[in-house]
Symmetry: C2
Subunit: 351 residues, 2 copies
Amino acid sequence: MAVPHDSAPAMRRHPTILDVASHAGVSKSTVSNVVRGLPGVSEATRRRVRTAIRELGYRPNVLARQLVQQRTSILGVVVGDLANPFFAEMAKSVERQAAARGYTAMFCNTEGDSQSELAGVETLLEHRVAGIVFLAFSGDSRTMQETLQHQVPAVFVSCSAGWGDVVSVDDAFGGRLGTRHLVEAGHRRVAYLSIPELEDASDHARWDGYCEALKEAGLGPQLKISWTPPSDQAEIDGVERPLLDVFTGPGRATAVFASNDVAAIALQEFADRVSLHVPGDVSIVGFDDVPMAGLARIALTTVAQPRDELARLGIATIADRIEGRLKGPPKRTIVDVNLVARNSTAPLRRA
Amino acid sequence: MAVPHDSAPAMRRHPTILDVASHAGVSKSTVSNVVRGLPGVSEATRRRVRTAIRELGYRPNVLARQLVQQRTSILGVVVGDLANPFFAEMAKSVERQAAARGYTAMFCNTEGDSQSELAGVETLLEHRVAGIVFLAFSGDSRTMQETLQHQVPAVFVSCSAGWGDVVSVDDAFGGRLGTRHLVEAGHRRVAYLSIPELEDASDHARWDGYCEALKEAGLGPQLKISWTPPSDQAEIDGVERPLLDVFTGPGRATAVFASNDVAAIALQEFADRVSLHVPGDVSIVGFDDVPMAGLARIALTTVAQPRDELARLGIATIADRIEGRLKGPPKRTIVDVNLVARNSTAPLRRA
DNA sequence: ATGAAAGCGCTAACAG
DNA sequence: CTGTTAGCGCTTTCAT
């Protein structure tokens, strides 16, 4: 390989359009016209310019272009937690869809913290992103709306915010679907589980769906668990207690609807650790259908979100908004969820 | 909430530094000085400017700033596959570390395809990123070196490329460590498994380590499986055959060292499907130690990479390079791996 | 078909 | 302490 011994990497200055122009013996506008593929340049000069570009290794400076054009082709993407497989999959889809339409994605991990969410959006705005895609929106709607309103288009994918375009599943329906699956399996005491740091409007809607399903079946009361894995404690109906308590004693829950798969899988892990049998002692339903949920060893019953479709529609929506094809009040697009039954749920075995 | 009925989102033009200047009755340099927090501005004007900034909702245009400064604060990050939990975790760490040093991360998913890898780098270069962090490098070293050399600093984290700074584990050592664990458990026929689309220099080094461990133990020959899950077929020692063949018949393998956890877990899933018992019939060792590997139901024995440390050192290295603190020939930083023994491996039970 | 000139919003000397 | 000026690299009229 014989890497040359230029000890200092010696980054040389990027050639500019002027360098190319003088090298090809034309004016900079001509070079610009060639670069942008405009017509009205003779084949001869076009070739000369192309050669000069190649020889100098010229690469247009997107910054300068976008400064004069007053618009960028960067899309900001706000992600709750890249390490969460659902977001990772979504991020990947979104990046691909964006690239397909000529946009570059700039990600922003928020850890579900509305502080860094705001900071992230601030950074995106300073970079004059063409639009912002929220894959999670936990933040203070008030402040965010103020900083974002009238600045750039925003689309909320698999989350929502009342203002701005939305592409998501019907979370309440999903919540009802998952809970109903449990109720129909004979469970009378079904708990709702969420991970506090990832809570947002979607979670609330799922909770609503859970409540409705309970009401439909004449069951109650609701039972809400806020848990930060892998703690043994959780906030149960608002009070901090051992998580295990939920599944022991007379009024114990025999089923749990989790607001996302990561929570569901963490609960399954917890159950394994304390020798609660899934689904024998407790049935679990998740939400999202992350790839992991499909592993034979996990086999999580879950409410599946069509990730690719969400990403596709989300990017289509914001691209339409940016490029002026879509105007008017916020547009809401709802796509279907469906239940994927696997082995983490089973009919209640009567005592 | 009463969202006002401005049907057209009416994105209004961003106020510029000039707007602020006239609004505050000062010159634009004064505003600039205030924004950048330079000393030498009277407290009074400073306050006036601050107020004007707030009232107008002014936000500096990073593009313009970076155009004149001839350097950006964007770091390009080339990721093999964001949906792979190892990369997802790394991406997250890298983003955090970059942010901590004032850099913004711009990700680029390559799907292990050297074509889109090159295209991605091209885009990053057009955006005049300050440097590029490779979390995977599958590409054609030749071309990439040409396009990258002398342009921007590059650091290879958990991968490597001969030229450019490297922060990684000793992959060959890791391969030896994982394989040796299997050999010491009594296995005589140990296969090497990799996922072709993610192969790169690291994989090769791990393979070398695997070979060394075999040689150390006086074992052989090597057995190489290239598999694209969830197919039933795989390329075994170069020929396409049913994957199951590896584990049946007289010369069958009783253990597998996989070049990454995703491959290992996929193999475990395959084994479950065809009723091969893990670790009874086959022991499996992975590489990376992704979070999932620690789940009780997966319990994968694996060679753990210190992700946070890799990210930290990687960003530190490239930041030093960019900011001129580090000069001279490529620097290689090696961090330790360690074996995490879980339940996917067991001593060979003698027939 | 090609070139000249005027900025995009900002920073970085340098003057006052 | 504050203002003036000259670009950064590019697109975009408008002349030629």
